[in-house]
Assembly symmetry: C2
Homo-oligomer: 518 residues x 2
């Protein structure tokens, strides 16, 4: 078999059986080899950022990596923003980038560029497969490295002649890395601290935002009086009725500072020490209160669940001492549509087991509150701040969980970076309801313009944040890519349309026309 065939066979043997792709000439042998390995599912995207974001969403739900196939340096560039998000969220991705044939590279052909420099932005593991004999073992290693812990983006650069040359053999899956062991001394030390008088907080992120880990964290908090906080934009937060509720750190540093005020010990569990998203003149970048000690109970290479359970035992927390969210159904609004009314409706109608991909930005601010007591669901956030993630992540999550309803909460401006995701949703008949918050504005930037202290008065500056001229018609855009779409301007219309979208199977889009909340 040729290199491409051995590569795909190796991926499948290692459990990677989906490839989100936007291939070109140098990847044609990979594409041809799809027919030789029936277990591999190829999912075509019309833009690379859709493919990389879909791989991210897939892995968050499947708990294993998907692969991505991109075309040379420019294709990697187009996919980079969502690989950045995956990197920041510690999401595993096997990122395969096709390259010219090894002997063709010195000729500096039209599409020649330095792929590794670009990959360095998102990957700590980059391997250029230099021979057909090695490509399968390189692929097996890429899967193991991507899966972690720590989970990460592993980039495999695949020259065309390595793909097309005969003589390759599939390689066996490589064993997963062993998590860093729980530090028993630290657990003892933290148990003592938590038993003392100084205010402490558990700060959970990553794998520690899953339901089982949150149970342990809640028991610790309830037993010791420590505060329980989650990172601002968790990779996958398991929440809703019957699960442990957790407050997230606010996006705005002003509010985050209030949440952390007085904390003397901050215990990180698969979370980074909190910092401000951006710098603002005269404001601190580091959100850790002065004099507060930061402890790392588990990092991304560790086992946060085991660490939390060990700490729960050490503090004498008992089963059943965790807080459990009661079911709550928000009251529906009426009259002209608002972001709040949209979020109330979603909270009232969210089906059991739903997956929410949240890139609602300013308009989505009310979503977390109104869905807190909805049936158990998963919440996927914008982990790296690079907008244009919401629709692709929803797409990938739907591929990973075909029996679950996926809801994409999507801000208008951010939707326009990767709107091509709708076409793939239609093609694969994925069960995704997209709610577009159309407030005709880069609303968050209107706020940030003031927060950074820029003199915000000028008409030219304001024009750069206004996307109402011309108005975007998301019904037309979605329809143009084969997804049925409706528009709602009142709370009643939205409720009717959302109920219908949830009741049917397959992709749909609802454009919610709302005023900006700012």
């Amino acid at each position: 078999m040729n290199g491409a065939q051995a590569l795909i066979r190796t991926l499948v043997q290692a459990g990677v059986d989906v490839c989100f792709m936007n291939p070109g000439t140098s990847e044609m042998h990979f594409v041809a080899a799809l027919d030789d390995v029936p277990e591999m599912r190829g999912v075509l995207a019309l833009f690379e950022g859709v493919a990389t974001g879909a791989a991210d969403g897939y892995a968050r739900i499947a708990d294993k990596p998907a692969s991505v196939l991109l075309h040379l340096g420019p294709g990697l560039g187009n996919g980079l923003a969502n690989l950045h998000n995956a990197r920041k969220g510690h999401v595993p991705v096997v990122n395969i980038v096709g390259d010219h044939a090894t002997y063709h590279k010195p000729f500096d052909a039209q599409l020649e560029s330095d792929i590794e420099t670009v990959a360095n932005n998102v990957s700590s593991w980059i391997r250029t497969s230099s021979s057909t004999a090695e490509v399968a073992t390189d692929a097996a290693e890429s899967v193991a490295v991507a899966a972690g812990p720590p989970a990460q983006v592993a980039t495999l650069i695949l020259p065309a002649d390595v793909s097309w040359t005969e003589g390759a053999e599939p390689a066996a899956a490589q064993p997963a890395a062993t998590p860093a062991p729980v530090d028993a001394d630290l657990v003892t030390e933290l148990a003592t601290i938590l038993g003392g008088d100084e205010p402490a907080a558990l700060f959970v992120g990553g794998r520690a935002c899953r339901a089982d880990a949150l149970v342990a964290a809640s028991r610790i908090a309830n037993t010791t009086g420590a505060k329980l906080l989650a990172e601002t934009f968790p990779t996958r937060l398991e929440r809703g009725a019957g699960r442990v509720p957790v407050e997230r750190l606010a996006y705005l540093a002003e509010f985050a500072t209030m949440q952390l005020d007085g904390v003397a010990h901050l215990i990180l569990v698969d979370a980074k020490s909190p910092v401000s998203f951006f710098a603002y003149p005269g404001k601190a970048s580091d959100l850790v209160p002065e004099g507060c000690t930061v402890h790392t109970l588990a990092a991304a290479d560790g086992d946060p669940l085991a660490a939390l359970e060990a700490l729960a035992t050490a503090v004498g927390a008992t089963a059943g001492s965790e807080t459990v969210q009661e079911p709550v159904v928000p009251e529906l609004a009426s009259g002209p549509l608002t972001a709040d009314a949209v979020c109330r409706t979603i909270g009232a109608m969210l089906p059991e087991g739903a997956i929410v991909s949240d890139e609602g930005n300013t308009s989505g601010l009310f979503a977390a509150g109104h869905t807190a007591g909805s049936p158990a669901h998963d919440w996927l956030c914008l982990t790296g701040g690079a907008i244009g993630q919401g629709l692709p992540v929803a797409l990938g999550a739907a591929v990973a969980a075909p029996d679950r309803k996926v809801i994409a909460l999507q801000a208008d401006g951010a939707a326009m970076y990767t709107l091509q995701a709708w076409w793939t949703m239609a093609r694969e008949n994925l069960d995704v309801v997209t709610v577009i918050f159309n407030n005709s504005s880069y609303a968050v930037l209107n706020m940030e313009l003031n927060r950074v202290g820029a003199t915000a008065g000028g008409p030219k500056a304001k024009e750069m944040l206004d996307i109402s001229r011309p108005d975007l018609d998301f019904v037309a855009l979605a329809t143009g890519m084969g997804v049925s779409a409706t528009r709602a301007t009142t709370a009643e219309e939205f409720a009717e349309q959302f109920a219908a979208a949830v009741a049917q199977r397959g992709p749909s889009v609802i454009e919610a026309v709302i005023p900006s909340i700012l």
Copy 2:
């Protein structure tokens, strides 16, 4: 004034008075400063690839750089493919990338990434402005470096606090680089070769594809019997009735080899020595015939016009000895629409002084032939092979030349990478007629799948090249972004719609539904 104000003032003083932008929080002071420098025009794009491609198109027509404003590493990633195209086409771009405040970077905030590694893919000049005192001189240098020769992408990384800190002063424009001088000895040597018996060819690219340089090249060819060939995808080819016609080297290596067959001396004028776009099993990468000597009369850092004129004098070419294209009006087709019928219509109706942005790919194959004798016009090609350039380049060209009609010949698959360009065309009321060749296929890949020798038979492979499921509705997509659009399925419909589009001012889209030519 603050750093951002001094930066923009410096750009304007250096002649850079347009900025295509997609800013974020870290660029808010730059945005605010637009109101302090009225001469700077800010043009908003909804996606970074639109901004970078527009800067490319602008510079090709304005013969000076525009600036681009991008948000951090992910924004640069999104803009990278079209910066790659600009780099390969030797097009000047002042590429400004906002970054976190200098003191914020060590905190590894959510959007932190290594911007310089990504910029290395497209820029040989990268400068991180480290202080407000230096930002203006850095900006002046970036403009001079971008302008060249050689023209290039200059990347200026702009930390937020460098923008917002007071105490900056604008800097004076820096002098342009002096072109490498014409090599008189080489001119003499080449004149001797051209006067001899061995077959020779002039291979022109870059600046040598402008009308004045082509006149000199044609005189040399006609005086000496040398062949005149242009590179496959010129940055800007000035052509049409009354100008010198020039044959372009074919995209397919098989045909290019025939064009170069027997050439013993290949004289490069602002062109790279020809190589195959991709490697194909068993086929040569280098297209230069065996035993042929390659001479570089002028490179990208030189003065191709002066070099050609010197050579014309040396071979004794006289004024008026050049070939001049006669006006030709192609016959219109009738019946079901085809790519050929579309191109005939465009050839028959192309207005004087039009600018054609050609990303028609396989469907555009007939366009060059049918427009060869149309009124004088400029032809802008996909210089770096990274698709998704056509619409942004058309946008930028229209900003540079508001009084000229711009025609974007756009393949369907390639259109989907940067379709957001239509929104900016509507917003700025730019005079661009987009013709979408909708053949529902990545047609070029169907061809390439066979050319690379991949076993093309499988249904899964073919599905990855088929974009008809679901069909894209480009009328809906364009309308959704505020551009009026029509659909043509017969030659008569297309002719009527194209005539109407050319007669009006402002953006319009015609979706030409055609069979694939392959």
